[in-house]
């Protein structure tokens, strides 16, 4: 053949509506993983600049906690971590070859678990924020 047509990779994310449970699990796992790494670096950077003395530390934290957006981000962070942990457990079973037929259900369970944890944490994180 003189020529062939390469439809490329662009279509991949255009097909998101057709993604299966396993694919979503993979995407969310990657995403939450990167968010956690990003958070880790920010966390280290912020706290290490704040630990000059006790007063600065308290001031920094109080300053952060007084921002409404930070309170919301904390809920988000917990959700991200919870999903990464729960799906991590799912992946552990996948690696061990246990219950592979139920991997999609395990993913949905991880999602539900994440939602439950996030909702349950709202009172703690948002108390007195308004």
């Amino acid at each position: 053949m003189s020529q062939s047509y390469d439809r490329g990779l662009i279509e991949d994310f255009g097909r998101w509506q057709e993604f299966s449970a396993g694919m979503w699990a993979w995407i969310f796992h990657k995403f939450t993983g990167w968010v956690l790494i990003g958070y880790l670096f920010t966390h280290v950077a912020v706290l290490s600049t704040a630990t000059v003395d006790g007063a600065t530390y308290t001031q920094t934290l109080q300053g952060l906690e007084s921002l409404l957006i930070v309170r919301f981000l904390e809920v988000g962070l917990l959700a991200v971590a919870a999903f990464h942990i729960l799906n991590g457990i799912r992946l552990l079973f996948v690696d061990l070859g246990v219950g592979l037929e139920a991997q999609d259900k395990a993913f949905y369970a991880a999602l539900i678990g994440t939602a439950a944890i996030a909702v349950a944490s709202i009172p703690t994180f948002l108390l007195g924020a308004f």
């Binding site: 053949m1 097909r15 396993g22 070859g97 991997q103």
Partner: protein, 287 residues
């Protein structure tokens, strides 16, 4: 249907090779015939199904830009995606190109991308799909023409895992059978069912991004032989060496896409995971 038409064409050719014009006339007549028949088919059919087919032909000016053609095909009970394509080709556009052979899900030539999912044309019932049905060539493979993709890369990956039985310990008698235990046969049973259709490879996101990745089908092939006890320890080690390379089993990120699309229901991810564990076991030493 298709054989009929072709036979007639060859007949005409044999008789009238010298008279091109007449031949062309008779071909046009034949095409009119077909169209007429299609029209009666269509008016008689209780129901028609619309298929949108990906078209591309690099050799014809004006068809170089990929596009979708729509065909209205009379629906009948038991109609598969492949049937509808055959109908469209035989009645509407003889240049519509796609691979098929066995029509019973065993030759592996008609893996297509139907309504956003890799499926075998001959194994997919029209009634199970949402209409209109969109039919495209397999993603992540170069399109040669219409629904035909270049399978070379897939075959290369299959060859890479040495997809044939090898052994060092042959039985003594020349004609003696190489017996396999029942359990061992059960173990490899599902993996032997692969028909080399490439649906799994096409569905795999990782294979799409990493051209050297062996891909699910090849790893499954490796599994089929690595788990076959008759091959012996040496050869198993050799096989594990192939699959545990950088672009072997470790590329798999357990998206389960391959398992989901395999028309032969092979638990591909499960096999890949098992080989990962085998690879670890063969390398781990605690002393």
């Amino acid at each position: 249907m298709s054989t009929q038409v072709q036979e007639r064409e060859t007949d005409t050719e044999a008789e009238e090779t010298s008279d091109q014009q007449q031949r062309r006339r008779s071909e046009t007549g034949e095409r009119d015939d077909m169209r007429e028949r299609a029209e009666t088919d269509l008016s008689e059919a209780d129901e028609t199904v619309r298929i949108k087919v990906f078209r591309y032909d690099p050799e014809v000016e004006g068809k170089k830009d990929p596009r979708f053609d729509t065909f209205e095909v009379p629906f009948r009970k038991g109609m598969t995606v492949l049937d509808s394509l055959i109908y469209a080709r035989d009645h509407f556009d003889s240049s519509l190109t796609f691979r098929h052979s066995c029509r019973q899900a065993i030759c592996g030539s008609d893996a297509l991308f139907v309504n956003g999912r890799q499926r075998l044309g001959c194994k997919t019932q029209m009634v199970d799909l949402e209409w209109p049905v969109r039919i495209e060539p397999l993603p992540h493979a170069e399109v040669v023409k219409d629904l035909v993709v270049d399978m070379e890369h897939f075959y290369d990956q299959m060859e890479a895992v040495e997809p044939y039985f090898q052994t060092n310990d042959l039985p003594d008698g020349e004609l003696e059978e190489q017996r396999q235990t029942r359990e061992n046969r059960e173990k490899v049973k599902m993996s032997t069912r692969c028909i080399w259709c490439s649906a799994c490879m096409s569905s795999c996101n990782i294979a799409a991004g990493d051209n050297e990745y062996l891909g699910p089908a090849a790893i499954n092939k490796a599994y089929r032989f690595a788990m076959d006890k008759r091959e012996g320890a040496d050869i198993k080690e050799h096989r594990l060496n192939i699959i545990e390379q950088e672009h072997g089993v470790w590329r798999c990120q357990t998206q389960f896409s391959c398992t989901e699309v395999c028309p032969k229901d092979i638990p591909l991810t499960e096999h890949i995971q098992e080989l990962k564990r085998e690879a670890v076991k063969s390398n781990l030493k605690f002393w």
